[in-house]
């Protein structure tokens, strides 16, 4: 009965409604005891319209909560309750909860909101409203044309609608003809209305229905609705599918007309509907006063501001006008061009070509403008965050915001939101010092965090600064080194700025104590990843004792970017200009002074600093081609690396002297430094560092249109997209950050340490292999006691806290801790795994708050707790058992990888007994407790997505899962573990060995193991082939219930068959 798309609309609209609530509440608190009615009304309306919608979608919890919020706001509005910090806190908490409920409406009804409800009810009951004023004071009446009936709405409601830019529409339609006949129900229609506005009044023409003695039940059921909405006539007609002739936009009388604004009798634009007279509202109902009669003559037309609802964007009329003008220009230019071509006069063709160039550029700019949104939309979220942070930390912090009006592409704005939130939190939590510390340092007690946005040379610069202690560069370096993220050698050549930039690496958090506010040890790398994703740059500014800042440079838009074209081995590549710092030519004769070796790398000496130097061809793994200086023919260049010491020669030192040698096959190195082959170098920046790329040739810069790369290439981090050049050929766009990782310059992008070497076939081979199988994995690293290293997947971690032993309460054999007013059970790994007892020692303890089966559990750990992103493979055979995913070699040490969900299954089996995770309908039907622990299923699929999805499904039903990325791998695993396996679930289309072949081989080995083929191929031919190959069940991807059912049956039957054989 619920309509999915209405629900989506409702959720979106609720999100919009909630967007300004935080700031309004914070503002209310600031303004107290003054009450800004408009502010309160806005918040009230947000709660109110959510309540209305929630009612229709059976979202009882959301409805209840918004109702309670509404009650408290009503008290504030009536000045019965002052918005003091206490009250605002409770309201903010309530709205937060409302937001999270809306984020997950599926489970909203199961959520426990008693905390919020009790708090809100407490507020409401302690301030019982004074005898309710005769509040239904004035009603406006809207007679229904052709009927004696009248629709009514409170003047207050109408004023509110008008102030919000909403209009009032009268809808006349027939529930039988316009609704029933279209297969819709009244509930759906009203749901759609409530989702797009609010129903102020409605009336059903009862008399038209007749009674039970009529021949047919309700052949007509006329229905009239007074509806307040931002939608236009067409918009309304679209959402509820009624003819536009049944919709009339009402003109609104104002209670108090603004001077000069009202023109008597002015019609609302767009409101005139042919054939439908506009009924004038009667202000002279029995309840109205003489005063009002005067005002009803005045009209207000502010309701003209309307939106057509979903999938639309608001465009300034001026922008549209401009587009129209440009379109006109374009037509003229085209005519001119056609004429010029006809005339065959080259000069006029060129002239019109130029004209079209100009017009096209203007058009491009104008179209881009339509996607722009003020960054203030984003900035406005932060006053609330800073307020909360000040309350949580006890610090005094002021937020200053400037540049709200700077406009940025919508997509960029969305991507920027998380990073900026993180940075603001960090600034408050780690940047600004405690008041006492500030005072001692002679600073003002109140710290300042500032957010600024401005345009700068075709980019948008967003700066977040604080006047706190600054980043402890040495601590960052030391930490990075201790984690193996950077070598001491490389640190030597790093500027302070580059050292500070190390905090962007995954796994590095220098917060001295992990607080539950912002120090989860994850985050800065997410900031970097998000900013990289939109082609932005992040620069870190820090001054010890004076403060720190982050300067984020963003492209204005993502679709078209100015780029530098370079070429290597005859292929062209584009480097976004924002990443290009400078271009230089290193003369062959200069090379020995400009290029040096440090460790095993080449570096470029640039104005006294060292910059890592990478040959682009090597970094990309393309064969280098050089022109034979004599014949001009391209020949392969065999030197593997710019800094290759092959033949015992020092790169960059011997080269220039041997410039005249002409034996390319043997002495490439010399030819490198031939006078004709100066180095063309592009100095680029990436998230973590600056480096230099050696290319064959530098070309123009041009504006390129970015085309996304196909899914097959999504793992290639060195490219961010592709573009089509003027001559029709394609060029790949380089991602300087991904390229740096590829070249082994930084450890980012999944590589755990920077050990990968640039260039060479090995590197190329390695990457293609890695690209095919390994996937970057976010892990939380921790200790169990002094010696055992453990890890768990970051997804399962909610937060990490430092705790004292005395924080843990013990009742019987169970441990627990109180967190956020909740009791959370606490476990040691030793409770389920064969590891040492963490409680035995006396060292420090950390508590990892993890989630399993939608509940929290605490897992005790020994600090340091850290996070990293790794491609290390998880070995599921060396250490296997309940609660373990396996082991991995991380930072050179064997680390146990805990499977939180499974761990919880062992320590808290009751959480899983009847919950939503016992998913198989099969199991539920038979009442059996699920498959035996240890029923191991081999899952073979080359798609990571499907493989992990299948794994999730199987693991959720209690199976153990062995994963294989293709048929060959699966067969190998089968060979090793055949006896332990209970079934195989295999994809058909796989590289190396397909599912048919896998099945044939398994059968050929004489095994009767159940095999399920799970595929997107579904032709009869495929089915036949699968059966021939020995597949037991053939299913089309991916029906969870079917899969579990088939698997359960097959395993039971094969078990029974085995038993019989015995």
């Amino acid at each position: 009965m619920q309509n999915e798309s209405f629900l989506v609309t409702f959720i979106e609209e609720s999100g919009d409604n909630l967007a300004s609530v935080e700031n309004d509440l914070v503002e209310m608190e600031r303004a107290a005891p003054e009450i800004d009615q408009e502010l309160v009304n806005r918040v009230f309306r947000a709660a109110h319209s959510i309540k209305g919608g929630a009612g229709f979608f059976e979202l009882a919890t959301i409805k209840e909560l918004s109702h309670r919020l509404e009650n408290v706001l009503e008290l504030i509005r009536s000045r019965s309750l002052a918005p003091n910090p206490e009250v605002v806190n409770i309201l903010l908490g309530g709205f937060d909860r409302l937001k999270s409920l809306l984020d997950d409406v599926e489970r909203a009804n199961e959520a426990d909101i008693s905390d919020e409800v009790v708090a809100l009810a407490g507020l409401a009951s302690s301030y019982l409203p004074p005898a309710r004023k005769a509040e239904a004071v004035e009603m406006r009446r809207f007679p229904i044309p052709g009927s004696a009936r009248v629709l009514e709405a409170g003047a207050l409601q109408i004023d509110a609608a008008r102030d919000e830019g909403r209009g009032i529409a009268m809808l006349r339609f027939d529930l039988i003809h316009d609704v029933q006949r279209l297969g819709r129900t009244p509930l759906e229609v009203l749901g759609a209305l409530e989702a797009n506005g609010s129903v102020l009044d409605s009336v059903v023409d009862i008399a038209a229905v007749g009674d039970l003695d009529s021949d047919t039940i309700a052949s007509d059921l006329p229905f009239y609705v007074l509806f307040s909405t931002q939608l236009s006539v067409v918009g309304i007609s679209r959402i509820i599918e009624i003819p536009t002739s049944g919709i009339t936009i009402m003109e609104l009388p104002r209670t108090v007309a603004p001077p000069g604004a009202a023109v008597p009798g002015a019609a609302v634009p767009g409101a005139a509907v042919p054939g439908a007279a506009i009924p004038a509202p009667i202000g002279a109902g029995p309840e109205t006063t003489a005063e009002e009669k005067e005002e009803t003559g005045r009209r207000d037309s502010s309701a003209a501001h309307r939106d057509e609802g979903e999938g639309t964007i608001r465009i300034q009329v001026a922008v549209l006008d401009k587009l129209m003008n440009i379109a006109g220009e374009l037509v003229l230019a085209r005519n001119e061009l056609l004429e010029a071509i006809d005339g065959g006069e080259r000069r006029s063709v060129l002239a019109s070509g130029r004209r079209i160039d100009v017009v096209t550029r203007e058009m491009q700019e104008a179209v881009m403008l339509t996607r722009m949104q003020p960054i203030g939309n984003l900035f406005n979220r932060y006053p609330r965050i800073v307020r909360d942070m000040t309350r949580a930390t006890g610090k005094k912090i002021e937020l200053s915001i400037s540049g709200r009006e700077v406009e940025v592409d919508k997509t960029i704005l969305e991507t920027l939101s998380d990073p900026l939130t993180h940075l603001v939190r960090n600034a408050c939590d780690h940047g600004i010092e405690e008041p006492g510390v500030r005072e001692a340092a002679g600073k003002s007690v109140t710290g300042t965090v500032s957010l600024r946005a401005r345009h700068e040379a075709g980019t948008v610069v967003v700066e977040i600064r604080d006047d706190g202690a600054g980043i402890d560069v040495e601590a960052v370096s030391a930490k990075a080194m201790s984690l193996g993220l950077v070598t001491a050698e490389r640190l030597k050549f790093m500027s302070d700025k580059e050292k500070a930039a190390l905090i962007l690496l995954p796994g590095l958090s220098t917060a001295r104590k992990i607080t539950d506010i912002s120090g989860r040890g994850v985050g800065m790398d997410v900031v970097k990843t998000n900013i990289d994703k939109i082609g932005g740059q992040i620069e870190i500014l820090t001054e010890r004792g004076r403060g720190s800042g982050f300067r984020i440079k963003l492209p204005l838009t993502l679709a078209i970017i100015p780029s530098l074209l370079v070429s290597v081995s005859g292929e062209r590549y584009a480097i976004p200009e924002t990443n290009v710092e400078e271009l230089l030519k290193v003369r062959a004769g200069d090379a020995k002074n400009r290029i040096e070796r440090v460790g095993d790398r080449s570096v470029l000496v640039l104005r006294g600093t060292f910059i890592p130097l990478v040959r682009l061809a090597d970094a990309l793994g393309v064969p280098r081609v050089v022109e034979d200086p004599e014949s001009g023919e391209p020949k392969p260049d065999r030197r593997a690396n710019l800094a290759d010491r092959r033949g015992g020669k020092q790169a960059g030192t011997d080269g220039a002297d041997a410039a005249q040698t002409r034996l390319p096959a043997r002495s490439d190195e010399e030819r490198r430094y031939h006078a004709a082959s100066d180095y063309s170098v592009v100095v680029v920046n990436s998230a973590a560092l600056r480096y230099a790329l050696v290319v064959d040739e530098l070309h123009d810069t041009m504006e390129i249109v970015v085309k996304p790369l196909g899914g097959h290439f999504s793992k290639l981090r060195e490219y961010s997209g592709a573009t089509i050049l003027g001559n029709g050929s394609t060029a790949l766009i380089l991602d300087t950050t991904g390229l740096a990782a590829r070249a082994g310059l930084v450890s980012g992008e999944g590589r755990e340490t920077g050990t990968e070497q640039a260039g060479g076939e090995e590197a190329a081979a390695e990457t293609s292999a890695a690209g095919a199988s390994a996937e970057s994995l976010g892990l939380l690293l921790f200790g169990n006691g002094e010696r055992e290293r453990c890890a768990m997947r970051l997804e399962s971690v909610d937060r990490v806290m430092k705790i004292a032993r005395s924080d843990i309460d013990t009742i019987g054999s169970s441990r627990m801790i109180t967190h956020d007013g909740r009791t959370v059970p606490v476990f040691a790994l030793g409770d389920a795994l064969e590891v040492s007892d963490i409680m035995a020692g006396s060292g420090e303890l950390a508590l990892i708050l993890a989630r399993a089966a939608d509940r929290y559990l605490g897992i005790l750990a020994t600090p340091p707790v850290d996070s990293l992103s790794t491609e290390a493979e998880i070995d599921t055979s060396s250490f296997a058992g309940r609660g373990l995913q396996g082991s991995a070699i991380i930072r050179g040490r064997t680390t146990l990888v805990v499977d939180v969900e499974d761990f919880a299954r062992v320590v808290k089996p009751e959480w899983f007994s009847a919950g939503p995770t016992a998913r198989s309908p099969e199991e539920r039907a038979s009442g059996s407790p699920g498959p035996k622990a240890g029923a191991l299923v081999l899952v073979a699929d080359d798609s990571n997505f499907f493989r992990s999805r299948v794994k999730e499904i199987l693991a959720g039903a209690g199976y153990g899962v062995l994963e294989a990325g293709d048929g060959a791998e699966a067969l190998a695993l089968f060979g090793e573990r055949a006896s332990a396996l209970s079934a195989v679930v295999a994809d058909i289309e796989m590289p190396e060995m397909d599912g048919f072949e896998l099945s044939r081989r398994i059968r050929a080995s004489g095994s009767g193991l159940p095999i399920i083929a799970l595929t997107s191929l579904a032709s009869d031919e495929d089915r036949r082939k699968a059966t021939e190959a020995g597949v037991d069940v053939f299913q089309v991807k991916l029906d969870e219930g079917e899969l579990l059912k088939a698997l359960g049956e097959l395993i039971r039957n094969s078990g029974a068959a085995r038993d019989r054989r015995k």
């Binding site: 039988i176 009203l190 409605s202 009529s214 039940i217």
Partner: protein, 93 residues
């Protein structure tokens, strides 16, 4: 004569079921006096025809100054009645 009768459709009141229900209601109303209680438990969906049926029943009852009472309706149906202002015609518990 049955006084204050009650009626429990027990299934959705939609176009497919209204004709049968109409006959039952008609008979029940004719053979009773006092207000009619419609027990909506078990009704998950009501369409326009269904609304028409309830209104027609209410109209029939109204002719002899009797009322239609609704009990046990799920929240969204109650909400539907409320938004449609049918609570002015039916008594809703």
């Amino acid at each position: 004569m049955n006084e204050n009768p009650s009626y429990r459709p027990g299934r959705d009141i939609v176009v497919a079921t209204v004709d049968a229900m109409k006959a039952e209601l008609k008979e029940l109303i004719a053979s009773s006096t006092g207000n009619l209680t419609v027990d909506m438990s078990g009704v998950e969906m009501i369409d326009s025809k269904g609304l028409g049926l309830l209104i027609a029943a209410s109209n029939t009852l109204g002719a002899s100054a009797r009322k239609l009472r609704i009990v046990g309706a799920v929240p969204d149906i109650v909400e539907l009645f409320r938004v449609m202002r049918l609570d002015r015609h039916f008594e809703i518990d």
